[in-house]
C-alpha cells in the first residue's frame, strides 16, 4: 500500500509531501524524504515491551505495571522533572503539562538546549518572522547564519528557499542570492554566493558592524571585524539593503556560542533595522519536528515556552534556574520522566551523574543512551508512523501527522493519559 502526503517526523521542516510504501506493519520504501527522514520512517530495532531495571539486569513488565510505576514515582517525588517533549505530538504534551501541574513538578523541553536562548531574545525584542511559504514565493536574498541546513535540515533549501519554485521569481534558483555566515566552511557554505567566515565567538561583533552599516555609520567600522573584512561587510550590508525581500535563518551557531541570547537579540535588531529599508524577516531553524509545538503547548497552557516550575502551585519561569540542565547539575530533582528525547546523549556528564542517582522513567520507542539510566522504559508508537497527532513546523504552521501503519504500540498520549488518570485518582483520595 502506498500512502501519500505523509508528514515527516524528523526535523522542524515537517515536510508533508512524503510517499511511503507499507507492507504489513513495516515501511518498505520512502519517496521524497531526505536521508534523515527516510531512515526514521524505515526505523527498526524498536523495544518490544516495557522493561524494568532489576539490580544488574533488566526484566520485562506489562504496560499496566510500567504505568503504575511511573505514576507512583511522580506522586512520591518532591521535585519531579518532566523533560523532553519535542519528539512527540501536541496532544501528549498537553497531558504532560497537566501532570506537571498536579505533582507540582518542573516541565522543560529540549529547547532549553537548542533555541532557548532565541526565545529569551524574542522576549526582549520580539520576532519579525513569517511562514516558510512567504520566503519561498518572494525572497531574493536568504541568509543562513550559524546554521548548516544541508546537514541538519536537508530539504530546507529545496522546499522553502534556494531551489524552491517562487511565485514572484521568474527563475528562483538564479534570482536568489544566498549568504552563509559560519565559523566553518560547511557544505552549505559551498553553495553560497557569499560566504562570511567569522572567527569563533565573533558573531555579536559582526552583527553590530552590520547594524552600524545599515544605519549609515560605515566610518566606525575597523578594517576587519572578527576576521571579516570591512569590504565584505559593506558588500553584505548592500546586498541586504538592495534586496526586495530578505530572510535570515539562524541556527545553534548563534544560540550556543558565547553571548548566547544576546547574539540572537542583535540579529533580530539588525532585521528590525533592515525593515525600515526593505522587507526582512528572521527565523530559527528549529531541530526536532515538534519542538516548536512543545513551546506552543506550554505557552497556551502555562504562559511560558519552556522551563516551567510548578513547585509553588503557580507557573514560574526562570531559565537558568528552572531548566533541565541546571536542575540536574544542581542535583535538585528527585525523579525524572523523560518523553521524546534522549538527555543522556545530549546533556553534559554532570547531569547524567544525577540521572544515575534518581528514579527515571522514559517513554521512547527505541533503546537509547538514556535507557541505561532508566528504572523503567515504556516503548510507544512513533508519531507520524504508527500514531497521529499535531506537530508545529519551525514557522509555527501546525500540521497533523499521519498514521501510516498500525501496530500494537500505544501512543504517548495514551500512556500519559493513563498515568495522569491514576495520579488524579490517588490525589483525590
Amino acid at each position: 500500500m502506498i500512502v501519500k502526503d505523509v508528514v515527516c517526523p524528523f526535523c522542524g521542516c515537517l515536510c508533508d509531501d512524503i510517499e511511503v510504501e507499507v507492507e504489513g506493519d513495516r515501511v518498505v520504501s520512502v519517496c521524497n524524504a531526505c536521508e534523515l527522514g527516510t531512515t526514521k520512517l524505515m526505523g527498526e530495532k524498536r523495544m518490544k515491551g516495557p522493561i524494568l531495571r532489576d539490580g544488574d539486569g533488566w526484566r520485562e513488565i506489562t504496560y499496566d505495571e510500567a504505568i503504575r510505576y511511573a505514576a507512583d514515582m511522580l506522586l512520591s517525588a518532591e521535585r519531579p522533572l518532566l523533560y523532553g517533549w519535542s519528539g512527540t505530538h501536541g496532544e501528549a504534551q498537553c497531558v504532560g503539562v497537566h501532570m506537571a501541574e498536579l505533582v507540582r513538578g518542573v516541565i522543560d523541553n529540549t529547547s532549553s538546549v537548542c533555541h532557548g536562548p532565541s526565545i529569551l531574545a524574542i522576549q526582549e525584542v520580539g520576532h519579525p518572522g513569517c511562514t516558510l511559504g512567504v520566503v519561498k514565493n518572494r525572497a531574493d536574498l536568504v541568509i543562513y547564519w550559524g546554521s548548516n541546513p544541508i546537514d541538519a535540515h536537508p530539504r530546507h533549501l529545496s522546499r522553502y528557499t534556494y531551489y524552491a519554485d517562487g511565485f514572484f521569481l521568474e527563475n528562483a534558483f538564479r534570482d536568489r542570492k544566498v549568504i552563509v555566515v559560519d565559523i566553518r566552511k560547511t557544505e552549505t557554505a559551498n553553495i553560497a554566493d557569499e560566504f562570511v567566515q567569522i572567527k569563533p565567538g565573533g558573531d555579536y561583533a559582526v552583527l553590530s558592524a552590520l547594524r552600524a552599516l545599515v544605519r549609515g555609520k560605515g566610518e566606525t567600522i575597523p578594517r576587519t571585524v572578527s576576521g571579516v573584512t570591512r569590504e565584505q561587510l559593506i558588500r553584505v550590508a548592500d546586498l541586504c539593503k538592495g534586496a526586495k525581500f530578505g530572510a535570515v535563518y539562524f541556527g545553534l551557531g548563534l544560540t550556543m556560542t558565547p553571548g548566547k541570547y544576546k547574539n540572537i537579540r542583535n540579529a533580530i535588531e539588525l532585521v528590525s533595522e533592515l525593515s525600515r529599508h526593505t522587507k526582512f524577516t528572521i527565523s530559527a531553524m528549529r531541530g526536532h519536528y515538534n519542538v516548536y509545538g512543545s513551546n506552543e503547548v506550554n505557552t497556551w497552557m502555562t504562559g511560558y515556552p519552556f522551563g516551567i516550575d510548578y513547585s509553588r502551585g503557580i507557573a514560574f519561569y526562570n531559565p537558568g534556574e528552572t531548566t533541565a540542565v541546571d536542575i540536574l547539575a544542581r542535583k535538585e530533582c528527585d525523579a525524572a520522566l523523560i518523553v521524546g528525547s534522549d538527555p543522556a546523549a545530549h546533556f553534559p556528564r554532570r547531569c547524567l551523574d544525577h540521572l544515575a542517582d534518581i528514579p527515571v522513567v522514559q517513554l521512547d520507542p527505541y533503546p537509547n543512551a538514556t535507557t541505561a539510566f532508566c528504572n523503567v522504559q515504556i516503548p510507544v508508537a512513533v508519531t507520524g508512523i504508527d500514531a497521529e497527532g499535531t506537530a508545529y513546523r519551525m514557522d509555527g504552521v501546525p500540521i497533523r501527522t499521519r498514521k501510516v501503519l498500525s501496530t500494537d504500540y500505544p501512543s504517548d498520549e495514551e500512556i500519559l493519559s493513563r498515568m495522569y488518570a491514576l495520579m488524579q485518582e490517588e490525589r483525590e483520595r
Binding site: 526582549e124 520580539g126 518572522g129 511559504g133 525593515s275 505557552t299 504562559g303 507557573a315 509555527g396 497533523r400
Partner: protein, 566 residues
C-alpha cells in the same frame, strides 16, 4: 436527564422583548423549556439581574498571534497568576492570559460564547487546539481573507462567484465561522514591506483595490448565505485623520440582508480619528456615528481603550510596525503565505498622554451617540484597547455621567477641546447594556436562531445571574456597585450546568465550536478545480490534503450548513 429551575430571576432578554420581568427559568438537558419536574435542582435568584450568557463578538483569545503574545511576554504572564484549585487549572497572564485564564475570567463575568476575531486559515488548527482548552465558552473563529491570492485574482477577473467559492471551500476546510477582512489588501502589500493608504490604493501586483475587495467579498458573503456578515477591520487603523477612510469604507456597503447588518465594522474607536497629525489629533466620533445612525446595514463595535498596560495584536502587520516605530517596544510580525499576516507589540495607555486620553473618550462617544444599542456593541477588541476584564468598568462609564466626569478630571487636561464627550449627557440603561453585551452580539453574528443570546424556549441554557438588584440600584450614582456586579456573577450557567459561582469555576467544561459549511454546486467546488489545485500545490508549503482541520479538533461539533447561490 438533568433539570434546573431558576426562581425569582429579574430577567432582561432583549431578543424576546423582556425588560426586567421577575420570572422563573426552567432548564432541561441544557435547553430552556416551559417547565420542569419537582425533582429539578432549584436556584433562587432573589430578584437578581439575570441575563442570557454574555457573548463577545470580537476578541483575541486563541491562535498563533495570541499565543505569540504570551510567548514573547513573560512579564505579562507574571502579572496574573493563580494556582490549580479544584477543577481549575493554574493560570498566568494579565492582558494575554493562558487559555484557562481567559476561560475562567470570562466565565466569572458571565460570558458563555466567544468569537476569536482573526484566524489565519493556514494556521487554523492552532486556533482550534486552543479552543479545546477554553472549556467554559462556546467558540467560533472569524477567518482572514484580506490578502488571499485566489480571491484577489478572482476579483481582478471580475468573478465574484469564484470569490464566493474560494470562501466556501476555505471556511469548511478550516472550520471557520465568519469572513474577516483585516486591512484588506494591506496585509499582502506588507509582505513587500508596503501598505495601502486607503480604499482606492491598488495592491501591488494584484492591481485590485481594497474597495474592490470589500465590495466583492460582501457580495460573496451574501451569496453563501452565511450567518454572520463580513467583519471588517478597515484600512488605515490608528492614524490621525483616518475617519474619512472609515466613512469611505462604510459608504461602500448596500443593505443586502433583512435579518442582520451587511457589514460588521470592528473596533471603530481606532478608525474615528481627526487631525492631520499627532499634534492636532482629535475625535471624529460624531461624523462616524451620524453615518451609522442612518444605515441599518452597519453594525460597529467600540474597541474601547482603557488606561493601563496591555498587548496589541492584529493581523494588520504594517500597522503594528508603525506602532513599533512610535513606541520602540519589542515588535513581532508574522506574515502568512498567500493569505494574511499579523503583528504584536505591548503598549501602555496613559491618562497623562493626550492621544491616549482622546482615544479613551472616542470609544465612549461611539457607544453613547449611536442611537440604537443594536448597532454599537461593547468590546475593547480584547486585548488591543484593554483586557476584557475591564468590561465592567466600561459598562459603568456608559451608565453614569458622574463616573465619566470623575474619570475625565484625571486625564490629560487638553482632551476637553478635542472631544465631544463632556457634553454628552446620555446614560445607558440596563436593557441597552444587555443588548450591547449579548443580544446585539447574537443578532449581529446571526446565531440567535441557534439558541444563542436569549432565553426563549429551546434556547441554549446559557445564563448569567449578577449579584445586583436593578430596582434598588441607581447606576448613575452607584457605579462602583455596577462594576462589582458585572465583574463576578453569582452564577454562570452554561448549557444548563452551573459552571461558575462567585468567581470560582466549578467544572472542567467542554466547549462547542460553531463553524460553517456552505453547500455549493460541483462547478464551484474548489476541491475539484484544476487551477485552484495546481496553484495550491505550487505556492503553498503545505499539501492541499494536509490543509483542512480534522474533526478531531472539535470538542462539540456545531456545523452550520448553508445553501449557497452558486
Amino acid at each position: 436527564m438533568s433539570e434546573l429551575l431558576i426562581r425569582n430571576a429579574c430577567v432582561i432578554d432583549p431578543l424576546k422583548g423582556i425588560n426586567a420581568e421577575t420570572m422563573d427559568i426552567a432548564i432541561r438537558d441544557g435547553k430552556i423549556v416551559e417547565d420542569v419536574s419537582s425533582a429539578a435542582e432549584v436556584i433562587d435568584a432573589r430578584g437578581a439581574l439575570t441575563l442570557p450568557g454574555g457573548i463577545d463578538s470580537h476578541t483575541h483569545i486563541c491562535g498563533t498571534k495570541v499565543n505569540f503574545g504570551r510567548y514573547m511576554s513573560p512579564e505579562d504572564m507574571r502579572a496574573g497568576r493563580t494556582s490549580r484549585c479544584g477543577p481549575m487549572h493554574a493560570t498566568s497572564g494579565y492582558s494575554v492570559p493562558t487559555t484557562y485564564g481567559n476561560s475562567y475570567r470570562y466565565s466569572a463575568m458571565g460570558y458563555t460564547t466567544l468569537l476569536e476575531g482573526a484566524m489565519a486559515p493556514l494556521e487554523a488548527r492552532h486556533t482550534h487546539e486552543e479552543f479545546l482548552y477554553t472549556p467554559l465558552q462556546d467558540t467560533m473563529a472569524n477567518t482572514l481573507f484580506d490578502g488571499n491570492w485566489g480571491i484577489m485574482e478572482a476579483i481582478r477577473d471580475g468573478d465574484t462567484r469564484r470569490v464566493a467559492a474560494i470562501i466556501a471551500w476555505t471556511l469548511q476546510a478550516v472550520k471557520g465561522f465568519g469572513v474577516k477582512l483585516t486591512n484588506p489588501g494591506g496585509t499582502e502589500a506588507w509582505q513587500w514591506g508596503k501598505n495601502v493608504s486607503c480604499i482606492r490604493d491598488p495592491v501591488p501586483y494584484f492591481e485590485v483595490t481594497p474597495a474592490e475587495i470589500i465590495t466583492s467579498v460582501v457580495e460573496a458573503n451574501e451569496m453563501l448565505d452565511l450567518p454572520h456578515s463580513v467583519h471588517i477591520h478597515a484600512n488605515n487603523l490608528g492614524t490621525p485623520g483616518n475617519y474619512t477612510c472609515t466613512l469611505g469604507t462604510l459608504g461602500l456597503i448596500p443593505d443586502l440582508n433583512p435579518k442582520r447588518q451587511t457589514l460588521y465594522a470592528t473596533h471603530i474607536q481606532f478608525h474615528a480619528y481627526g487631525g492631520s497629525g499627532w499634534k492636532d489629533f482629535c475625535s471624529k466620533s460624531e461624523p462616524i456615528v451620524r453615518f451609522v445612525n442612518m444605515r441599518p446595514q452597519i453594525v460597529i463595535d467600540m474597541g474601547q481603550v482603557m488606561f493601563g498596560r496591555t498587548t496589541t495584536m492584529t493581523a494588520d502587520g504594517p500597522m503594528e510596525f508603525n506602532l513599533y516605530r512610535l513606541h520602540h517596544e519589542k515588535w513581532s510580525n508574522h506574515d502568512v503565505e498567500l493569505e494574511t499576516g499579523s503583528g504584536i507589540i505591548p503598549v501602555l495607555y496613559r491618562r497623562k498622554n493626550l492621544v491616549n486620553s482622546i482615544m479613551w473618550a472616542i470609544g465612549l462617544e461611539l457607544a453613547l451617540l449611536t442611537e440604537s444599542p443594536w448597532q454599537c456593541l461593547l468590546t475593547t477588541d480584547n486585548p488591543n484597547g484593554a483586557p476584557f476584564v475591564k468590561y465592567p468598568e466600561i459598562i459603568a462609564l456608559l451608565m453614569s455621567k458622574k463616573y465619566r466626569d470623575a474619570e475625565f478630571a484625571t486625564i490629560h487636561p487638553d482632551t476637553e477641546s478635542r472631544v465631544p464627550l463632556p457634553a454628552i449627557e446620555r446614560e445607558l440603561d440596563w436593557y441597552e447594556i444587555a443588548v450591547m453585551t449579548r443580544a446585539g452580539q447574537a443578532k449581529a453574528l446571526g446565531i440567535q436562531d441557534r439558541g444563542k443570546g436569549h432565553l426563549g424556549l429551546g434556547a441554549e441554557a446559557d445564563v448569567a445571574i449578577y449579584p445586583i438588584r436593578i430596582d434598588e440600584t441607581d447606576p448613575s450614582v452607584d457605579y462602583e456597585r455596577v462594576i462589582e456586579a458585572f465583574s463576578r456573577t453569582e452564577y454562570t450557567i452554561k448549557r444548563g450546568r452551573v459552571v461558575s459561582r462567585k468567581g470560582k469555576c466549578l467544572v472542567d467544561g467542554n466547549n462547542a465550536t460553531f463553524w460553517v459549511r456552505p453547500e455549493v454546486s460541483d462547478d464551484y467546488d474548489m476541491e475539484k478545480d484544476p487551477d485552484f489545485i495546481e496553484k495550491f500545490d505550487r505556492y503553498y508549503t503545505v499539501r492541499m490534503r494536509n490543509y483542512p482541520v480534522q474533526e478531531e479538533y472539535l470538542n462539540r461539533n456545531r456545523c452550520i450548513e448553508t445553501e449557497a447561490e452558486i
